[in-house]
């Protein structure tokens, strides 16, 4: 769950009512994850009426900064449970190993862990310890406006590769006045680069975290795709909130994002857009190439200094560890379950009216097993900052090729981290 709703700084505090509450736990969560989690509280209290759950909603970057600041202060001010992005969890583990509690002694044993896919547990394991419970995942999907594509005579069968997507984009923009094919957070992020790179098996760092791999061929291909999209004038810059505004204004035909964007799109769309949206798989770089990646997706951790660890774990194991809890969040906010058994729930195969009666969750969940783990490492934001600068310079024509740009970026990351660049 990555939600850049940092402007919603106003903390919206939602309190669960439980008449016989004895233990109170507080949770920090962001964006649409918070109301999603809130939706599970009634079901949880039906089983555990003695635990009262309070969920505090904040913007993504606010939760992140508050958690890091509290961890740096030795855990002072932390709630009992906090949300964090998987790809950034290594940062906490490297700097503040005691900030998140080990869940194994609380009951998160091998058999409980085996209910979650490997790529979600990857960042949480620290030796024998497991420092959080996987929440949702973010298979990358293309969310598109059926009507805009139809006006241009573009059908989804035509879009297999990014070159196909560019051809389709030219037609869509020609047929729909004032509509841009796709939005990327070009001015403040490297999101498409990370998504397409991962699709091509390339991240900032190698799987063991020991080498910088951002200049490898998969990443080069990703930057080349972004260059082509930009050159063809098919992509305009928008951060998360602006994407939602553009959707509502009907000036963008496609959004590429982790599947968790389903909820924000559906819940913010004007009524007349119902039935006009659809979903398809991300295009690949080459014919018959890979078409799956993960973007975003988070976990819930129990604070290392909480004196209500048992109660906190009891809530996590209901909200994240049962099919009932996970399907409640999928229905409410489109949070894609990490819990493997939730994927067999009948709700998953139901068509959705907003999405033009498409059974979207089947398409989304079909991607899950193809996703490979990516090691964020504690240097993730270092690499991300270098990449954002490099991407802008590349799009402004300051490099001869994507390879040259990424070689330079890898060198800078080497400098910041001391890790070697992979050959």
């Amino acid at each position: 769950m990555k939600m850049l709703m940092s402007t919603t700084a106003l903390a919206l505090t939602v309190t669960a009512s439980a008449a016989t509450a004895e233990t109170e736990i507080t949770v920090w969560a962001w964006g649409s994850a918070a109301p999603g989690l809130q939706a599970t509280v009634d079901g949880f209290n039906a089983q555990h009426s003695d635990i009262k759950v309070t969920i505090e909603q904040n913007g993504y970057s606010d939760v992140k900064s508050r958690v890091l600041a509290a961890c740096a202060a030795g855990g002072a001010g932390l709630p009992d449970v906090f949300q964090f992005q998987n790809v950034e969890m290594e940062l906490i583990i490297a700097q503040f190993p005691d900030c998140a509690a080990d869940l194994v002694p609380l009951g998160f044993d091998d058999s409980a862990q085996s209910n979650f896919p490997e790529f979600k547990l990857f960042a949480l394991q620290q030796g024998d310890k497991v420092l959080g419970m996987p929440w949702d995942s973010g298979p990358v999907m293309m969310f598109y406006r059926r009507d805009f594509y139809e006006n241009a005579g573009v059908s989804l069968e035509d879009i297999e590769t990014w070159d196909d997507f560019i051809e389709a984009g030219k037609k869509v923009q020609a047929a729909n006045d004032g509509v841009t094919m796709i939005n990327d957070n070009l001015n403040g992020g490297a999101e498409f680069f990370r998504m397409i790179g991962e699709e091509q098996g390339c991240g900032y760092f190698s799987e063991d975290g020991g080498e910088i791999t951002m200049a490898q061929s998969g990443c080069v291909a990703a930057l080349e795709v972004i260059g082509k999209l930009n050159e063809a004038g098919l992509v305009s810059a928008a951060n998360f909130n602006e994407k939602i505004q553009n959707n509502a204004a009907g000036v963008v035909a496609t959004q590429m994002s982790g599947a968790w964007m389903e909820g924000p799109i559906r819940n913010n769309a004007p009524e007349d857009q119902a039935g006009k949206w659809g979903i398809y798989e991300m295009p690949s770089v080459v014919d018959d190439g890979a078409r799956a990646a993960n973007f975003g997706g988070s976990l819930l951790a129990v604070a290392g200094n909480s004196d209500k660890k048992e109660a906190a774990y009891t809530f996590l194991s209901y909200a994240l560890g049962t099919v009932e809890g996970q399907i409640t969040m999928l229905k409410d906010q489109g949070l894609v379950p990490s819990l493997t058994s939730a994927l067999d729930d009948p709700y998953v195969s139901q068509p959705s009216a907003f999405w033009g009666d498409q059974a979207i969750w089947q398409t989304v969940l079909g991607r899950l097993e193809r996703i490979a783990p990516i090691n964020g490492t504690e240097y993730f934001s270092d690499a991300d900052q270098v990449m954002i600068a490099t991407q802008t310079a590349f799009l402004n024509g300051e490099y001869d090729s994507a390879q040259a740009a990424l070689d330079e970026a890898a060198k800078q990351v080497m400098f910041a981290t001391g890790l070697p660049v992979a050959e």
Partner: protein, 287 residues
């Protein structure tokens, strides 16, 4: 120690305690931190990871260049505008003087987050009022957040808008402390208003203007909120990343407190040097 001296220290004691705990100690501790490699717990002594990195880090040089660019362009423009504004606000021809003065001072009162949100809307490339207005006089679409030069211009515009009135009020106070008889004598000698401004007002205002320059220099060295809130955290691609923003990213996004401390000390040293330079260049018999 005499009794009443002791009593006096007793009174300032609570303040001193807070000063030591929240000012002096962090300043000393961050100097110590600036020699540690803080990438992984436990932290270890390794100044090449902080001071060593500083001398060769392209991101640091980029932030330094951006900060100095803002300093060199924004501060002189703003102080010049503030002088002109102060003279106009001081004019006897001006009606509703109190309201006018407040109107120019008001931007300082407004929260940074609020005005940044409004600027983001106004300068939106597709629907913003600024591009619409420019379009109506034949100037093509400017992508304020995607073009590095335009983004820098936007930051300079925003900071100038926010602080010009504040400086104008300070200069206005200086203006009102200039004795009226100087001007009366000038009028008797048939000195034109323009000459009065250049040869009487400006020289007598010099101490106030230098004060504004030093304040603005320190402010520019610490510039953070505008590039954070308006141009996507120093975007596009670091084109508006200031030293303050780089410090924030290193400390609170990358958790690299050692390197962030080295940057903090560099900012403080630069602000000190540039302010001293201001004072030295403008030194004179009365300043």
């Amino acid at each position: 120690m005499r009794l009443h001296t002791k009593t006096a220290y007793g009174f300032i004691g609570p303040y001193l305690l807070i000063f030591v705990a929240f000012w002096a100690w962090p300043i000393i501790y961050s100097f110590y931190l600036s020699f540690l490699s803080t990438r992984r717990a436990p932290w270890s002594f390794n100044p090449t990871m902080t001071w060593g990195r500083l001398t060769q880090d392209p991101a640091f040089y980029n932030a330094l260049k951006n900060t100095l660019t803002i300093l060199a362009i924004q501060v002189p423009i703003m102080i010049a505008l503030a002088c002109i504004l102060a003279v106009l606000l001081n004019s006897s021809l001006l009606r509703a003087r109190g309201i006018m003065r407040f109107a120019f001072f008001a931007p300082v009162v407004i929260g940074e987050a609020a005005y940044a949100a409004v600027f983001r809307l106004m300068f939106n490339a597709e629907f913003g009022i600024v591009n619409k207005a420019l379009g109506s006089i034949g100037i093509g679409k400017i992508d304020w957040f995607a073009n590095p030069t335009a983004a820098m211009a936007l930051i300079i515009l925003a900071v100038t808008w926010r602080w010009v009135g504040y400086n104008a009020i300070i200069i206005l106070a200086g203006l009102q402390s200039i004795p009226k008889d100087v001007y009366e004598a000038a009028i008797l000698d048939a000195v034109t208003p323009r000459q009065q401004f250049l040869y009487i007002t400006l020289p007598l205002l010099k101490p106030v203007i230098v004060f504004c320059l030093v304040l603005s220099t320190i402010g520019s060295m610490q510039l953070f909120a505008e590039p954070f809130l308006i141009t996507n955290v120093g975007g596009p691609g670091g084109a508006t990343e200031t030293l303050g923003l780089l410090l924030y990213k290193q400390a609170f996004l990358n958790l690299n407190f050692g390197y962030a401390s080295a940057i903090a000390y560099t900012i403080a040293a630069l602000a000190l040097i540039i302010s001293a330079l201001n004072l030295w260049v403008s030194r004179g018999d009365d300043a």
